[in-house]
Symmetry: C2
């Protein structure tokens, strides 16, 4: 039963828990943190929720996100920790400073790369999201799922499957989503806030990027450029590269983002053919076949030239 019995004993044996997830939290990190905190409190436990990074604006519509603290706001050390969606201890950031000597950790995660750092490990790489595992465990314990808990689980499922669009959208995920909607989750409101809502700053950035859009190799490569002054501090640039990748006929989409005069961040996405992970690695970067990135120490013009020429050579070689 995936260690659910051990996990259940773990929460039965103590009264006070630290609940955390990984830094730069996504919807599954926030959703699983809130779900775990909410569940423990409903079982009469005391809980402190922390994250190394502030909760992103788009998740703050959920009232309990206000209770997710920064580690520096917490002075206590904890003997019982529940870590969610965190593949290794590094991913917890400075939250680790809140661990007491001899800390016991319940590690619940769906990443295949999880290094099993927990005292008890509930790691299921076949799950689309950590909340999927939590939902299974909650049903194993036969706990009540109220509307808040259901909404937190739904948010994790929705975001980690790209709105049920990625290949990890299994029949099981869709059936869990069906049960959560039955429990009253306002799925369309969550989707609207978390997936659809943007900011004027984001749209201005998109407009600037789109105005630089170019195609190469018979329209199979599309790229865009953002200059230093285009981007405000802390502005999210993440989704923009997908506009290039999503053009009909394009296999590789690229965003070149100038950091300073001699530093360019390159985001690479591919649809089917080209392994952009290999390309990124050849520039000292990383990632996988469909999504990768690298940092190039050169001017914006030089970076474009070298990435595009190496990419075109790679594609020509592979097609030959």
């Amino acid at each position: 039963m995936h260690n659910f019995s051990d996990a259940t004993r773990f929460i039965q044996q103590a009264d006070r828990f630290l609940v955390l997830s990984h830094l730069h939290p996504d919807g599954d990190a926030i959703g699983s943190t809130l779900a775990m905190g909410h569940l423990l409190r409903s079982l009469g436990k005391e809980v402190v929720m922390v994250n190394e990074s502030p909760v992103p604006q788009k998740f703050r519509f959920l009232p309990e996100t206000r209770e997710i603290l920064m580690p520096q706001e917490v002075s206590e050390k904890f003997h019982h920790v529940i870590a969610l969606d965190a593949a290794d201890r590094e991913r917890m950031g400075t939250c680790r400073e809140l661990f007491a000597d001899g800390v016991q950790i319940l590690n619940i995660d769906h990443h295949a790369t999880n290094d099993l750092y927990g005292t008890i490990n509930v790691v299921m790489p076949t799950a689309a999201a950590t909340v999927e595992i939590l939902f299974d465990w909650i049903e194993f314990m036969q706990c009540k799922v109220d509307l808040s808990l259901a909404s937190y689980i739904y948010m994790g499922l929705l975001t980690d499957t790209g709105g049920f669009r990625y290949s990890n959208t299994t029949p099981k995920v869709l059936r869990q989503a069906a049960r959560l909607v039955e429990l009253g989750v306002k799925s369309h409101e969550i989707a609207d806030i978390v997936l659809e809502t943007t900011t004027i700053g984001q749209l201005n950035l998109l407009q600037k990027a789109l105005s630089t859009l170019q195609l190469a190799q018979d329209g199979s490569i599309a790229w865009m450029v953002l200059k230093r002054n285009d981007i405000e501090p802390d502005q999210e640039v993440e989704g923009i590269v997908n506009y290039a990748r999503n053009i009909e006929g394009v296999d590789v989409g690229i965003l070149f983002r100038e950091i300073d005069e001699q530093t360019v961040k390159v985001s690479l996405r591919s649809r089917k053919k080209t392994d952009v992970g290999q390309l990124a690695k050849s520039f000292g970067g990383g990632g996988h076949a469909r999504a990768a990135g690298c940092t190039i120490h050169a001017s914006l013009e030089e970076a474009q030239k070298s990435v595009l020429s190496r990419l075109q050579a790679k594609r020509e070689f592979e097609e030959a």
Copy 2:
């Protein structure tokens, strides 16, 4: 049983059918046409599929779309017609010219406005899509659902629920989707092609629209403008207004689209408060509270001025 017995007898009594849907077909129109045609053929029937409008490019990845003909390509008259997702006969366009005298029509639809024009009517306004009704009926008949049929049904569910993001995404829809994925539907490939893929023309148009983006009334109204020369003939403009509506803090998003010197099409979307259907109606247009449109016979500048001033007055009045 929603008339499923009568519908079953309808297809048992004849050997040759005309299958059609509404003009300007969306994913549910194409999906339900293909599903019905495929099902009938698997039952040994002869089928001609037609649509008044050409199949949009984004659905042509499905091989059987090639068999959906234009009415002028068909010289025969039909005694047995199955109409899908069409609320009234008007919506069928010139496909009606293929009806023999005394034609019998099986009308399967989920629109609440359906006027029950059929000899047999299977109209379920609680269904999210016409394919949802088809899937129920196919299960009622205990017919085999092969991968093609499953994919057609999935496409209809996916598109008519906005990728499972609209409020019509019921637990039943999600459970049907789960069963279809279990039957082998490559849900992520369909989502990628139908929902994510765009064209360079679409992105250029988006860029032009975004470059005109303006806010009013403390950021609660956002609008964009497209001039005649920005738009190529037959270019889809539909989704662009949502970029304005989706900005954080915005309640009403508007796209003004110049048709000629004295004609402007106005698309209106609202998030929660303002009934844009009322506003559109006051300009002789139509729609509902969250999505509406009208055509104004004035210059682009005049049209903007009158819509924005009437909208602002309406919002100020309602807040007072």
